[in-house]
């Protein structure tokens, strides 16, 4: 039987972080993961993370995964993949199903490659950390077993790990951060998102995530849920209906969508069975998203030597899972005598403070289910954002990041207190102020001068910062917005300026497209719009995108939407000069 100091089960964010901390103290650490790739869910996360610098904010999830793997390798952590832990037995014995490689006869003949078969192995450790994460919840409705109904995480795996589009037209159930983030990634992958539906009366995830989906034209249906998914061999359509405060369907409120995919993002359940089998005291009250072990701040369970960290000990997100993992790793090193109590304590409290920093603001665990009416600054929250996914025109002006000024200046449409502050550090000219309180809304610093570098726009994980020049020339304004779709528009392209709700509000001309390593794959699109649209146009769609029968613009044209009214009259003054201007700018564009 192989013996090591620490066995970690699960090579996700918390498991790897714990393994790194433990291995740094000289412990022998072995990590098992049943998947073929390490990193847990991190490699599916193509969006930029929230938080502060210490939480790796504004770095994309998969990059954090790469960094963790590198760190683990440097620390001497051994990761055993395709290794499924099938049980934890008394005295910390771990039984693993994994492959055994049998080398070919002489080991050199390429015609006779080594064969592999599976077997069961026994290991023993002085400490075990269970970091097995969570699995997706499902809800039942007629047709929920049809091919085409899948978890949002499954759709994300298809797209971001395997490069497969889950479908052409998708309905998303669930408006938590998973539902919102995956909806946006579906759009990025070229799928249409027909609707975002949630039985709750308000959007559960971050407003900034909702806003970037809404401005792509995705309608939100709150207090709605799926009544029926149609199809015989696969999904062909879905019917949703409104629900009352007791989640009962209201007759006559049915709405039908032709879709081929339904994604379900209704929460996660901890995969805690191993801990239960090991005899750990469990909490079944449901507060951690399901059955969770009873643990202390370091993840120590009721069984000495067995620890738990990450989603398995209560559903949160990757950033807090990484810190929890580090805390557990430090405490385990202390427990086994590889770290002095004093040194461990110092490191531990540093991580604890960092975790505390993430658990602040409107979405903090202690605020779950609370009705929040005002921000920390005392500003009434945007109710339209919670109901429809975007801040209404008459609400946006009351937030401190939204100010008017001559010349180019940042407009931060960040309206909820969330623990995030990369924008503050991004601005070399100190135009953006958040202060020491990480959840404070970003405000425009009085007397500062914006040079239009765009670093703040690219640094905002919520894509909520815009550079606005409200008057560039007669009747014209320019808006610089974050753009993460391919193909990138080119300077000179013409299309439409889209409102926060994703409706075309004016003609728009692309005057500049900036990409740079520092922007980390977020392109900065500068569009020229009519002056009165400077504070309304927040997204761009090309003419080409508007020709399809399904496109937002084609549909709204049929309904006689604003394009013909606003667009035709508003942008005429810009037209002629803009063309010449944009050519000049194109040369200078940093591509």
């Amino acid at each position: 039987m192989k013996r090591v100091d620490l066995i970690v089960i699960g090579a996700g964010p918390s498991g790897l972080s714990a393994a790194i901390e433990a291995a740094k103290t000289g412990m022998s650490v072995l990590v098992f993961d049943e998947n073929a790739r390490p990193g847990g869910q991190l490699f599916k996360q193509i969006h930029k993370f929230f938080g502060s610098k210490e939480h790796k904010a504004k770095i994309r999830g998969f990059v954090i995964g790469q960094q963790l793997l590198k760190e683990a390798e440097d620390a001497g952590v051994q990761v055993s993949l395709e290794s499924t832990v099938i049980g934890i037995y008394p005295e910390r014995e771990v039984v693993v199903r994994k492959y055994v490689e049998t080398p070919a006869a002489d080991g050199t003949d390429p015609q006779e490659p080594s064969s592999r078969h599976e077997a069961v192995f026994h290991y023993k450790a002085d400490a075990i950390l269970v970091a097995t994460g969570a699995s997706e919840n499902m809800v039942m409705f007629d047709g929920w077993t049809l091919p085409g109904v899948m978890g949002a995480g499954a759709a994300q795996t298809l797209m971001n790990l395997h490069g497969v589009r889950p479908g052409k037209r998708v309905l998303m159930l669930g408006s938590g951060n998973v539902g919102l983030v995956v909806s946006f990634q579906l759009l990025q992958a070229g799928c249409q998102v027909a609707a975002l539906v949630d039985a709750a009366p308000k959007i559960g995830g971050y407003g900034v995530h909702a806003a970037k989906v809404a401005r792509c034209g995705v309608p939100f249906y709150l207090s709605h849920t799926i009544k029926k998914v149609e199809g015989t061999n696969h999904v062909t359509g879905v019917t949703i209906a409104e629900v009352d405060s007791h989640f009962q369907f209201i007759p006559g409120t049915e709405k039908h969508f032709d879709v081929d995919t339904v994604c379900v993002a209704v929460g996660l359940s901890p995969m805690s069975q191993l801990l239960k089998m090991a005899g750990c005291e469990m909490d079944n009250s449901g507060k951690g998203g399901g059955q969770i072990p009873v643990v202390d701040a370091a993840g120590q369970t009721s069984v000495p030597g067995i620890f738990a960290a990450g989603d398995v000990a209560g559903i949160e997100e990757a950033s807090s899972a990484m810190i929890e993992g580090r805390m557990a790793g430090i405490r385990i090193a202390e427990y086994l005598g590889y770290e002095t109590k004093e040194a461990g304590e110092a490191e531990f409290s540093k991580e604890e403070a960092s975790l505390e920093g993430l658990r602040q603001g409107m979405f903090a665990p202690q605020n779950r289910g609370m009705k929040i009416e005002k921000t920390e600054e005392g500003i009434p929250i945007s109710t339209n954002l919670l109901k429809h996914g975007f801040v209404a025109d008459d609400e946006i002006g009351r937030f401190p990041g939204v100010t008017h000024k001559a010349g180019i200046h940042p407009v931060m449409e960040c309206t909820q207190n969330i623990p995030c502050n990369p924008c503050q550090d991004a601005c070399a000219k100190h135009c953006i102020h958040i202060g020491l309180n990480i959840t404070a809304l970003p405000a425009v610093e009085e007397g500062s001068t914006c040079i239009g570098c765009g670093m703040c726009v690219a640094s905002c994980s919520g894509q909520a910062i815009f550079l606005v020049n409200e008057h560039t020339k007669e009747g014209c304004a320019e808006v610089t917005l974050p753009y993460e779709f391919l193909p990138l528009p080119k300077a000179g392209d013409e299309g439409f300026g889209m409102s926060r709700s994703g409706k075309p509000v004016c003609r728009a001309k692309v005057v500049k497209v900036r990409t740079s390593k520092a922007f980390d794959h977020t392109a900065l699109l500068t569009i020229e719009v009519p002056e009165d649209m400077a504070m309304k146009a927040r997204f761009y769609r090309s003419r080409l995108e508007c020709t399809g029968g399904d496109s937002v613009i084609a549909q709204s044209r049929i309904k006689g939407a604003e394009v013909s009214q606003n667009g035709a009259t508003g942008d005429r003054p810009c037209e002629s000069k803009a063309a010449a201007e944009s050519e000049k700018r194109e040369e200078g564009a940093a591509i």
Partner: protein, 122 residues
């Protein structure tokens, strides 16, 4: 946690969605689960043994939450009050041929501080 067996649940009346499959691996419907509760299966362990829901390929990863919701509703209690089914090895479905193929990883402490999963002979 003692299960109250004297509870009178009344007759098992048909409900919307009774023909819906809840446990996909073992193809158990909502109606079957409800009937099982009325037949006297008051705990998740009993339901599992009686109907096999949660005993298939996914080991209840998808349906156990749904099943406990249905059982709790039938019993008029909160799902959290229901004792979860026991957890036992193997945690994941395992072919008997692999289960029987026990290998000894080399004994002794890790040779280097780097630990290691290699070197197993089978």
């Amino acid at each position: 946690m003692r299960t109250d067996r004297s509870k009178d649940l009344g007759p098992c009346l048909p409900m919307e969605g009774d023909d819906r499959i809840v446990c996909r691996c073992e193809e158990v419907t909502q109606g079957e689960i409800r009937q099982a509760v009325h037949d006297g299966m008051f705990t998740m362990t009993e339901i599992r043994r009686y109907l096999r829901c949660g005993m298939g390929l996914c080991q209840g990863q998808t349906c156990s939450r749904l099943v406990s919701g249905i059982v709790a509703r039938e019993l008029g209690i909160r799902p959290g009050e229901l004792r979860p089914a026991s957890s036992r090895a193997p945690m994941r479905p395992l072919e008997m041929s692999i289960w029987a193929n026990e290998c000894q990883a080399p004994d002794g402490a890790a040779e280097t501080k780097k630990g290691g999963a290699g070197d197993e002979k089978c």
